[in-house]
């Protein structure tokens, strides 16, 4: 190719639009450090670049500028990293709190469910005792004092239900006792009245009514005692 021929091709050469053999010929010529071609190549570059204006102008999203600057600015990235770590830490802490709260809630729910299951079993046992024709009922107390009824069935057990028991001190519990004519009292379980002093205690095991003469309630340390440690607050003779 002559110089005038090549002069018409430098933009296309820069764009890679020439056929391979034409491009190879210009490559070879440029390697000779031809000053004429170097100059024309310099002039062709902005012409080729100006073709970018064939693209319709589109405004980039505003976020792109900050994204570009953040990608090249270590300080900004470092700050962002710190913020990210701080944010992540806060999220982890929040997650931990939620997890602990959830675990606590689950434990509380489990305890509540266990208590309800116990109550349900006691109610079933109480119904079983109360529904028997041979169950005997003994009423005790007066309206202003602890009062209620004791239901005894020799085959099914005892139901002790009442109201107006005094409030317990912290770390104390009521304990129900079966009092035989002779020998040591038998524990019939511990119980806690509600805020109004109402209570139900069930002992669903056979009772030797010929031997048990009374039921009694004493205040004991939390968890109960193998034998009464205080004077009973309530004694109900069954005879």
């Amino acid at each position: 190719m002559t110089h005038p021929e090549m002069d018409e091709l430098y933009e296309l050469y820069l764009l890679g639009a020439l056929e391979p053999e034409q491009a190879a010929e210009i490559d070879d010529h440029l390697r000779t450090q031809c000053s004429h071609c170097q100059e024309h190549l310099q002039g062709a570059a902005p012409v080729a670049a100006s073709l970018s204006l064939l693209a319709e102008s589109q405004e980039p999203p505003a976020r792109l500028r900050s994204r570009v600057l953040e990608s090249v600015n270590p300080k900004s990235r470092s700050r962002n990293w710190i913020f990210a770590v701080a944010g992540l830490s806060a999220a982890c802490a929040a997650l931990l709190i939620v997890a602990l709260w959830t675990a606590s809630a689950i434990r509380s729910s489990h305890a509540r469910i266990a208590a309800l299951q116990i109550e349900r079993v006691q109610l079933e046992e109480a119904v079983e005792i109360l529904s028997k024709s041979d169950t005997r009922a003994v009423q005790f107390g007066r309206a202003e004092e602890p009062h209620g009824r004791v239901f005894v069935n020799r085959n099914n057990g005892v139901v002790f239900v009442g109201s107006a028991l005094p409030q317990l001190a912290a770390g104390r519990t009521f304990q129900l006792w079966l009092i035989p004519g002779q020998g040591a009292p038998e524990s019939a379980g511990i119980f806690h009245p509600n805020a109004a002093g109402d209570f139900v205690q069930v002992r669903a095991t056979p009772v030797d009514t010929s031997r048990i003469h009374a039921v009694a309630v004493s205040v004991e340390p939390a968890g109960g005692s193998p034998a009464p440690t205080t004077t009973p607050v309530l004694i109900v003779p069954l005879a």
Partner: protein, 188 residues
Amino acid sequence: MHSEQTSDSELVDKLRARDPDAIATLYDRYGCLVYSLFLKVTQDRTVAEDLVQELFLRVWNRGGNFDANKGTLGVWILSITRNFAIDHIRSAQARFQTRLRSIEQTDPLSFSYKPAEPERILDSERSVRQALSELTANQRRVLEMAYFEGFSQSEIAAKLQEPLGTVKSWMRSALIRLRSTVKAGVAG
């Protein structure tokens, strides 16, 4: 907005000093043009944004080596942009990291030309747009196929089902018009 008066040599000095303000200035100057070009080629705003970020990251990492006495950052950046875009559409792979050629491969001659007044290329944007708008539909079409799609003259002729001589004629006449406009802008 960063100063439009900052020269290429000052920007290159800032790039060498790892001053992010240089990228802010370059983005403000060329961000819209670069984004428009990527969007035109990729037809995908998300990909165009990714490519813009990658482009300026490369300028940040390599721009310090640019010799402002031998060319303009604007032409160099637009040249890289166009080749990035062409690489994107030619690549069968999804991720652009593997598609992009190195700057040296992308624009091997960008350091060797020296327009009379380096900052004037985009100053003539209005007259260039005017010149482009006055091209015939065929002239414009063949230039777009070469610039945005990376086709050679023979490929364009085949796709348009036109004689190769006709395509060359359209291109030549369009480039003559454009050359005179760009040179007038540089000289003016």
